[in-house]
């Protein structure tokens, strides 16, 4: 399948067959959780609770949820500055995530990392990288560990369309391919790198063709369809666990908000956003849940209500968190004792 738009594209699979009823509820909950989380981060920015910058992923939730749900607890993940999605999908503590973004000592990294650097080693959330492409080599390294340890772990890394033009992408794809490592490369093709449309920086729209430069299987999937994403990822993960090496998954999706806080998105052609809003991953999934009778309107509303409350409560608790104490941070810098 290398270099071709895969069989996964366009194939409509039933939710029940891929997720089951319980899985479907979980997926819906996770989608909502990420959406609510990101909305709350945005509001917190406006309210002055967050300073600096932040990169949100509304519209791309199905990629995070669909890919993460294909993983085992002992798998490894690396992601980007736009990485709240995978973290929340993986189960990162919401208060800890908010508190980190608010710069509080109760943050997952004690406020030292920030919005661009949410991590949690317990969950295999190895790192969020603010330098484009930098997370890929690290995921490859986790893939080496996984392969060496020999218990079927995999490593997964997320990155954008724009990131496929940086050297680290190329070197990582090649290394994973030549060593047949269990690494899943998840490309969130949201059509833009910052304010640049993909065709202004890349001589093609379908990035999956790049996989063939490494003799690596590549698949394209509708990134706004959580079921399709999960389905495609499961196949890739199965291959990786079986020792058959890496896969490149291109998820076609769209960033509903600006690149970062200061971006109003003026570069978008008229109508583009509207068209994608109609394909909002949460709305799509919600409609299918109803259509397939897996959840009724009351059930959906209850879930929505619960998630919203959970997110609001976590943010409220996080906002109460104390500021980190101003003290020497040598111990946060080095693990070993220093002679100095």
């Amino acid at each position: 399948m290398a270099g071709k738009s895969s069989e996964a594209t366009g194939r409509v699979v039933s939710i029940a067959s891929v997720l089951g009823a319980a899985g479907a509820r979980t997926a819906y909950e996770k989608l909502l959780l990420i959406r609510e989380f990101e909305n709350k981060v945005y509001d917190s920015f406006v309210a002055g609770l967050v300073q600096g910058t932040t990169h949100l992923c509304q519209g791309q939730e199905a990629v995070s949820v669909g890919t993460v749900m294909a993983l085992r607890d002992d798998d490894y993940l690396t992601y980007t500055y736009r990485g709240h999605g995978p973290c929340i999908a993986r189960g990162m503590d919401l208060e800890g995530a908010f508190a980190e973004i608010f710069g509080r000592s109760t943050g997952v990294s004690g406020g030292l990392g920030g919005s661009m650097h949410l991590t949690d080693m317990q969950l295999g959330l190895l790192g969020s990288f603010a330098i484009v492409g930098a997370g890929l080599p690290v995921a490859v390294g986790a893939g080496i560990s996984a392969r060496e340890r020999g218990i079927g772990q995999v490593s997964m890394t997320w990155f954008g369309d724009g990131a496929t033009n940086i050297g680290a992408f190329h070197e990582s794809m090649n290394l994973a391919a030549v060593w047949k490592l269990p690494v899943i490369f998840v490309c969130e093709n949201n059509l833009y790198g910052e304010y640049s449309p993909i065709l202004s920086t890349t001589p093609m729209q379908d990035l999956v063709v790049r996989a063939s430069a490494y003799a690596m299987p590549g698949v394209v999937v509708d990134g706004n369809d959580v079921v399709a994403v999960l389905d495609a990822t499961r196949r890739a993960v199965a291959r990786a666990r079986a020792g058959d090496g890496p896969t490149f998954i291109e998820c076609k999706t769209y960033r509903q908000c600006g690149h970062s806080r200061s971006d109003a998105g003026k570069y978008r052609p008229p109508g583009e956003l509207d068209a994608w809003m109609e394909r909002d991953p949460i709305v799509l999934f919600r409609n299918r849940l109803l259509a397939e009778g897996l959840l009724d309107k009351a059930g959906l509303a209850a879930t929505e209500q619960r998630v919203r409350e959970e997110v609001q409560a976590a943010a409220a608790r996080a906002a109460e968190g104390p500021w980190p104490e101003v003290r020497p941070l040598h111990d946060a810098t080095y693990a070993g004792t220093l002679t100095a």
């Binding site: 640049s196 202004s200 500021w323």
Partner: protein, 323 residues
């Protein structure tokens, strides 16, 4: 003379260079229609078009290296690297190619490349987006390193950089973008490419660069109120480093305090201290002091970031402790 912001000064310098010389070409991520992530190319795309103001892919190593290829073949590329921290992904081209190419060619070529990068802390961008980059590059012969600490310098240094036959790295500071000041458009009145006394004083020499200059100035105000007259020197050009103005100053004041937004070990402050103390050994009567970032990466939390970046109070305290 006209009063504009640091950011506007950068735009203006580029506009004038583009207008004056068809060989000037700007390249960088989102510098075109978007006007640059820091809006430092605002309006230039509209005025000069997509070939003179080029949006690049996220391929720093390629477009920085390409700048050298352009320079070797008759053009004068001006690169915007966005965050100075991104020099990491194109470090090889900067320090192994651009810095050394003329030399390896026996001095037979010139490499007129300008690289602009925005650095520095204070804006809650965390450890990978807050480095000034000063100490990354000033050690390399073949490069020139300019550090504008005012709109005037943001303007004139960029114009000088673009005109320079050698590669120049212009390290702008993102916390100064909105700073207002006068610029001098008459090149005949531009100061020499060397440190400059920006406030005279007789008791202690404060040497600072970039965003630390303002703080040193504010500290000097505070110190004056306590009877200590600090002379403030804006370092301005990190390479080639001209130590005379500093040596001259410490010879008069007898005391040196450097203020920089880099870690102590490896900071340029050591270089200043070493040069000053070596050259003015007999004139300095107080141990020098360095006010720097602490020895850990930049923390994200506002509380911790503010404690990390040298503050006016810390500078004042350092001088008082010395005296």
């Amino acid at each position: 003379m006209s009063t504009i912001t640091y950011r506007e000064a950068i735009v203006r310098a580029q506009r004038e260079a583009l207008a004056a010389d068809p060989r000037v070409i700007l390249m960088g991520e989102d510098i075109g229609a978007a006007g640059g992530p820091f809006k430092t190319t605002e309006g230039l795309f509209e005025e000069f078009g997509p070939l003179r103001v080029r949006d690049t892919p996220i391929s720093e190593n390629a477009f920085v290296g390409a700048a050298m290829g352009m320079a070797l073949t008759g053009y004068r590329p001006v690169i915007e690297l966005m965050f100075a921290d991104f020099m990491g992904v194109c470090f090889d081209q900067i320090v192994n190619s651009i810095a050394k190419h003329r030399f390896m060619c026996g001095g037979k070529v010139a490499v007129p490349v300008t690289i602009r990068a925005m650095g520095g802390g204070g804006v809650r961008f965390g450890a990978q987006h807050s480095q000034t980059g000063e100490t990354w590059v000033y050690q390399f012969p073949g490069l020139k390193v300019f550090c504008p600490a005012s709109p005037a310098d943001a303007y004139l240094m960029l114009r000088q950089a673009i005109d320079d036959p050698d590669p120049v790295i212009v390290l702008e500071h993102k916390a100064m973008m909105a700073m207002k000041g006068e610029i001098q458009t008459d090149a005949g009145r531009w100061p020499a490419q060397r440190p400059q006394v920006v406030r005279p004083g007789r008791d202690v020499t404060l040497v600072a660069s970039l965003a630390m200059v303002r703080r040193a100035m504010a500290a000097a105000d505070a110190l004056a109120a306590q009877g200590i007259q600090a002379e403030v020197i804006d370092l301005r050009v990190l390479r080639p480093l001209v130590a005379e103005p500093i040596i001259d100053s410490v010879t008069r004041t007898g005391a040196l305090v450097v203020v920089e937004e880099n870690h102590e070990s490896g900071g340029w402050g050591a270089e200043i201290v070493a040069r000053a103390l070596t050259a003015a050994f007999d004139y300095i009567d107080k141990p020098p002091v360095r006010v720097t970032l602490p020895d850990w990466p930049m923390p994200y939390s506002p509380a911790l970031e503010d404690a990390a970046v040298p503050s006016v109070q810390k500078i004042v305290d350092a001088v008082l402790a010395q005296h």
